[in-house]
Symmetry: C2
Subunit: 333 residues, 2 copies
């Protein structure tokens, strides 16, 4: 395996986004074994838990213990979701490297999801940033615009609302604002347009693409985001987090298929695909009978597959074709 810096960062969200969508609770020891296997496959950012009341999400009751375990894995960025200041206090106390805060772009979804208006949620973001600045300035904060591409409650979400909210989060002091297709409504043209607008507003503070595969467009939307310069992608091993093939389900992008796409393209992920597929075993062992998806693991790697041969140097890959053409255009004009 190459030791050069990967071209894209695959941010694995299964242990948080996946596990909290499953009604059963994975045992703490099983979570540790699964996270270890993900780390062993080369994943270097994992959302390991969310800090919410155990009465609401018993699946996450062991969040602090899981964070402390994940901190022992070398080179891993340990991330946790926090919906409010209280969660941020607990997550920082547990020692996380990175906080992710969900901020709904849809007014209706914001009220339904966190019982706060968007303005109230922005105030919460400011409180979390103030806390971080005071007691843990090294901790990285990401805000992720939920329902950025459409809302199952209110329908269309105005693109200007998304861009403004992402910019307001940056103004509030977060390190990056990403976009999430919470509802599986995004399409590639919209992904390119909206990430372009967000980048025009906040530049390098533009964060991850969190795409869902609800209608089968997950990888196409990731490709579209890559084309306009996005370099961090959220996904979930086995597509855990809402069955991707059930009516109305959320359906996270499957990490195995996403890594296969990028590696096949010659875009280095730093992830060993065979070890990644092996990391399905501890997931299945920890949640027996739970459906685990993924086309690449089912079909197997293609004949002649050779990860190391396909990897190209980082500098060739920092820009996608659309972005590269734009740059060439800019250089010429």
């Amino acid at each position: 395996m190459t030791t050069s810096t990967p071209s894209v960062l695959i941010s694995e969200v299964g242990p948080r986004d996946g596990l909290q969508s499953v009604s059963r609770t994975m045992a703490t020891g099983d979570k540790k074994r699964w996270i270890s296997a993900l780390h062993a496959a080369g994943l270097r950012e994992i959302e390991v838990a969310s800090f919410v009341p155990a009465s609401l999400l018993p699946q996450m009751a062991d969040a602090a213990e899981i964070v402390q375990y994940a901190l022992t894995l070398p080179g891993l960025t340990v991330m946790a979701l926090v919906p409010n200041l209280r969660g941020a206090q607990s997550a920082i106390a547990a020692g996380v490297h990175k906080l992710t805060i969900p901020v709904s772009a849809s007014a209706a979804h914001s009220l339904a999801n966190v019982r706060k208006s968007r303005e109230q949620m922005l105030a919460e973001v400011r409180n979390i940033v103030a806390l971080r600045n005071e007691i843990a300035p090294h901790v990285h904060i990401e805000a992720n615009m939920s329902t950025a591409f459409g809302c199952t409650i209110q329908g269309e979400v105005a693109e200007d609302d998304v861009v403004r909210l992402a910019a307001e989060c940056v103004a509030a002091g977060v390190d990056e604002s990403g976009l999430s297709d919470t509802t599986g409504m995004a399409n590639p043209a919209q992904v390119r347009r909206l990430f372009d607008k967000v980048r025009a507003a906040i530049g390098d503070r533009t964060g991850a693409a969190h795409m869902h595969n609800t209608r089968g467009l997950g990888l196409a939307n990731c490709l579209a985001a890559y084309d306009v310069g996005v370099r961090t992608f959220d996904s979930s091993l086995g597509g855990l987090g809402g069955c991707p093939y059930a009516p109305g389900a959320s359906g996270n992008v499957v990490t195995e298929d996403l890594v296969f796409m990028f590696e096949a393209m010659g875009v280095s992920t730093g992830v060993d695909l065979e070890k990644l597929i092996a990391a399905r075993a501890p997931l299945k062992a920890g949640l027996p009978g739970e459906p685990v998806y993924g086309m690449t693991p089912e079909a197997g790697l293609p004949k002649g597959w050779n990860h190391s041969v396909r990897a190209e140097p980082f500098d060739k890959l920092r820009t996608g074709p659309v972005e590269a053409l734009r740059q060439a255009q800019g250089e010429r004009s």
Copy 2:
């Protein structure tokens, strides 16, 4: 529904590619009902049969009757696959508008699939063209480069071989040469690169993208092909034609998901998505118990979905973003 010319042509291959992959034979009356429903949904090119000996493919024994029925559907381009001169004679006698000839880019696959070397297959293409020119000059001929993106027998397929073969088919007199990911090994970077090379060699004779979803990249590969100017896409209703979720299966791109992607992007297909989803019923009725796939039909159309509102005029959509940027670049430089 808009009556303007669609921006892309969805070429439905289920009644041929799909049905010949299923061991059971759909009854002739059921095939007619299914093809009618596909036509009613707005599909304007359907590969309805292959002309091969009934002893080899009993599923296609009624090919002539199916072609004659399909010819009664207004505005439909009736296409059939022919592997050799004899098949072409029968297909032309039945009255097809368009022939599609599979030509393996992989030497090993060519021998395995049609028991001919690539050179021998090219000779067959020349014979078919001569026949067409003599007795049915109005019939359109498409050659499709099988295993263009990799081969399960020989592994890698040299891109120069693919480009040369596509050009030789055009030199032999076919109207278009397309590329087929027979084995589900294509990735978006390769799709863009190879279609670019083929277009550089044969220009507007560049034909359809026939992508498979074996490893989940079907739609991403279609998007990549669209980005570099491809405007005809083969797909199969319900993904019929090799279970897309089984080891080693071929897995055609699901027409419903492909149409959803393009229509959501504002790229007109001329297909009514609700009627297309309704066309699953006669397929299921004709092959009870056969697995029928598709994420969009499972999840349903998103809230606020409005096909006609999303359609944009044809002239805005003739070029994908990469192509449009290239043109802009060309105009400026």
